[in-house]
Amino acid sequence: MGDRLHTFNGGIHPEGHKAESSATPIRDMALLPRYVVPLRQHIGTPARPLVQAGDKVLRGQPIGAAEGYVSTAVHAPTSGTVIAVEPRAVPHPSGLFDLAVAIESDGEDRAVDFTPLDWRNLDPSALRNRIRDLGLAGLGGAVFPSYIKLNPGAQSIHTLIVNGAECEPWITCDDRLMRERAAETLQGVAIMAHALGVKTVLVGIEDNKPEALAAMAAAAPAGVEVVAVPTRYPGGGGKQLTYTLTGVETPTGGRSTDVGIQVFNVGTAYSLYRAAMLGEPLLSRVVTVTGHVARPGNFETRIGTPLADLLTAAGGANPGAVGEIIGGPMMGFDLMDLAAPVTKAVNCLIVKDPVHFPPRPAPLPCIRCGACARSCPADLQPFEMYWFSRAKDFGKAQSYNLFDCIECGCCAYVCPSHIPLVDFFRFAKSEIWEREQEKRASDQARQRHEFKEFRLEREKQEKAEKFAKAAEKQKEAAAAGPAAAPADPEAEKKKAILQAALERAAKAKEGVTPKNTDHLPPRVEREIAEIDARREQVVGKEGGEG
């Protein structure tokens, strides 16, 4: 299948800058005195803390438990004492704090007992639960919990795509991983293929990584095809890589699983190998430190490592540095606080210098040159979306398929007017989500209000009835003399019945609102959860609510 590659439209060729960090092997970091592990490692529900200040922990001990569906566990990176469970700086574009567990190492780095998973014989759902409890999540950037993606569910998955494209400039963590740990990574791929029951496995690697290609091809077992894909950003985007390798377009608003394809990052495959073969939770990942630093390279970094310490390990920033980026230069974000720790999502720390990362020139008006549209891998018309986003005509922006935008930044990269197009798209998306949320909230408020009115009305009637009855009874009593039973028990019973009916009515009413997620098939339910999670993430990014 890999012989005939498909070419997605658009894309760009930014300067790669891979050599700066790809020349040296992955380095281990010395044990640090302190780690900070945020409980929110990815989209979805943050983990529920399992420890409190003063607790002693061992390396690999769960400190946060998966909470809800889109969630995974979080583990202690080393042995020591929990010194705080409190909001701390996290690597997030908003710069806001989030709940984290701070651990002081005891220097012994003692681990809990790890039990390898008997993945071949384990019941699939038990295997997935173990993977959830080992904290596995996608390491390619989206950080979606792996156990969910390993569930073939109702759709049958026929192809597993392993993403080693690493198309973002400067980042080389996957490159080094594939060069140095190809066999282990492919072992993880085998476990994925087993869990999903797929026949075809394609590993896509951009052809600017010949060493990684060679290493992976050499280690690939029969049935796993390692494919060199042309180097063109964003060739490593999930949808783009899927298209390049299979010619299948992921339907809009859907996931590749809708067309029988599941995509995992190579880093995730490697962590699955460690989880299954060694029983080890996701405790560390490879992170690239590059740019304006003394000794750029890749580091095996424990989750929870403060970024300042990671930077020190790379020799520190060179004089003249002008800030840091988390992630790549195309889709990453400005780091607000070096005290923030490495999370499962952090694949790269770039120290900016004014030569490679100059301030963006002042924007000019759009001249409708169409360069953005020609570079857009989603075949969008960015200038139209920009026009309407700027005019705050979000409905129109949406009608130009704003939500198909993957925020890859190609359009902003080529724009001769230097318009920060992606900023406008993020803004428009978050505004639309906010409005939807507001609408949902006001719908709920309206329902609550209506119900209250209804209840008050009924209560009034009931009271009137009661009074009438009581009056009647009194009359009766007066007429028939004493010995009439008090009316109360009957009224109580009636009230209970009425209450139940009201509740049923309210439920039925809720049933017609779009938000109701009861009684939906699990697939739809999961999708809603995912979409909500995505929204939360982007809204958080722009709206500044952590």
Partner: protein
């Protein structure tokens, strides 16, 4: 907000785009000077000067930063396209009025760079030809046909001081498009018209080489991806097909398609005017429709209209249709089916 991308952006800016467009015009300008004398330098000089001064003044009055906007170069392209569309050796005020119409009315009245629905140079041209038809139809004759060959000084003299000692008939003539139309209407056989001195081997004498030079510049722009192929190809095909059909129907009245391609503003229009991104359609299919329409209308106006050339009006009419064309030619988005869902 200052989000990603942070990468060093592509070396691309509005001013570099505009400078490249101007560079691509140079072969045509040189050919023009070669065949029609130094008048073109005077009109370029005047239009550029007026346009820059006016743009600067307007930017000042609109309270926008003058430097980045003036240096975007867009007003220079407008000025050059206007100069290349107007007859040379016309009185200086004709250029001044043209620049005011193009820069002030067509561009800034609509909000400035990127906001104007109509091609500014063509608005200037069209308004002038309606208002001052006499000046707009007197074109310098190609060298060798004019009784008098001018120096650059003569040209300045003519533009600023009027005709002076030299009679206009000595250096100007009607255009071939005009001549063809009037002679054919008078019933002169096509072969006889073609035999007139002002006609060259395919189009107008001299003009055909200027057209070829503009086409060459256009190909340079294509090679540098300043434009896509859609607009020039559709424009020229629309023009040639329509002219060819008319020619087939009535060869005595209508010239052949090659003549149309190499006369008047066809090449300049196809590569430089219809391709103005601000006012052109922006989707691939839309560009084909828009430019095909402009080419078709050019041929029709040339054949049946009262003006010497049809490019300006054709482009302006096509400009009007752009929002409509764009709305109905949105390309399929990745992951959507054909119905756009």
């Amino acid at each position: 907000m200052n989000g990603s991308p942070y990468a060093l952006l592509a070396k691309n800016s509005v001013s570099s785009v505009m400078l490249k467009v101007m560079a691509a015009l140079i072969p045509g300008i040189i050919a023009h000077a070669w065949f029609f004398g130094p008048g073109i330098w005077v009109s370029l000089f005047l239009c550029t000067g007026f346009a820059v001064a006016l743009e600067g003044l307007i930017l000042l009055m609109r309270n926008v930063p003058v430097k980045p906007f003036l240096s975007d170069g867009s007003v220079l392209v407008t000025a050059w396209l206007l100069a290349l569309s107007l007859p040379t050796l016309a009185p200086w005020w004709l250029y001044a009025v043209g620049v005011v119409l193009a820069v002030l009315v067509a561009k800034h009245f609509y909000g400035g760079l990127g906001q104007n629905p109509f091609n500014p140079a063509m608005v200037g041209y069209a308004a002038l030809i309606v208002s001052f038809p006499v000046y707009m139809t007197q074109w310098p004759a190609p060298l060798g046909l004019a009784d008098h060959s001018l120096t650059l000084l003569d040209a300045f003299d003519l533009v600023f001081a009027g005709q002076g000692s030299i009679s206009p008939d000595a250096y100007t003539s009607a255009t071939v498009l005009d001549t063809w139309k009037t002679q054919a209407r008078l019933g002169l056989p096509a072969e006889d018209i073609r035999a007139m001195a002002m006609f060259g081997w395919a189009g107008a004498r001299g003009q055909e080489f200027v057209a070829a030079a503009f086409a060459f510049g256009g190909l340079l722009m294509l090679a540098h991806r300043l434009i896509t192929w859609h607009i020039p190809v559709a424009f020229l095909v629309g023009l040639a097909l329509t002219a060819g059909l008319l020619h087939l129907l009535d060869p005595g009245r209508h010239a052949d398609p090659l003549f149309h391609l190499l006369s008047g503003g066809a090449m300049l229009g196809a590569f430089f005017i219809a391709t103005d991104p601000v006012t052109a359609s922006s989707t691939p299919l839309g560009k084909l429709i828009y430019a095909g329409l402009a080419g078709f209308l050019t041929a029709l106006i040339r054949a049946f209209g009262g003006y010497p050339d049809g490019v300006a009006f054709a482009v302006l009419i096509a400009n009007i249709c752009v929002p409509f064309i764009d709305a109905y030619t949105q390309p399929r988005v990745f992951g959507h089916d054909k119905a756009g869902k």
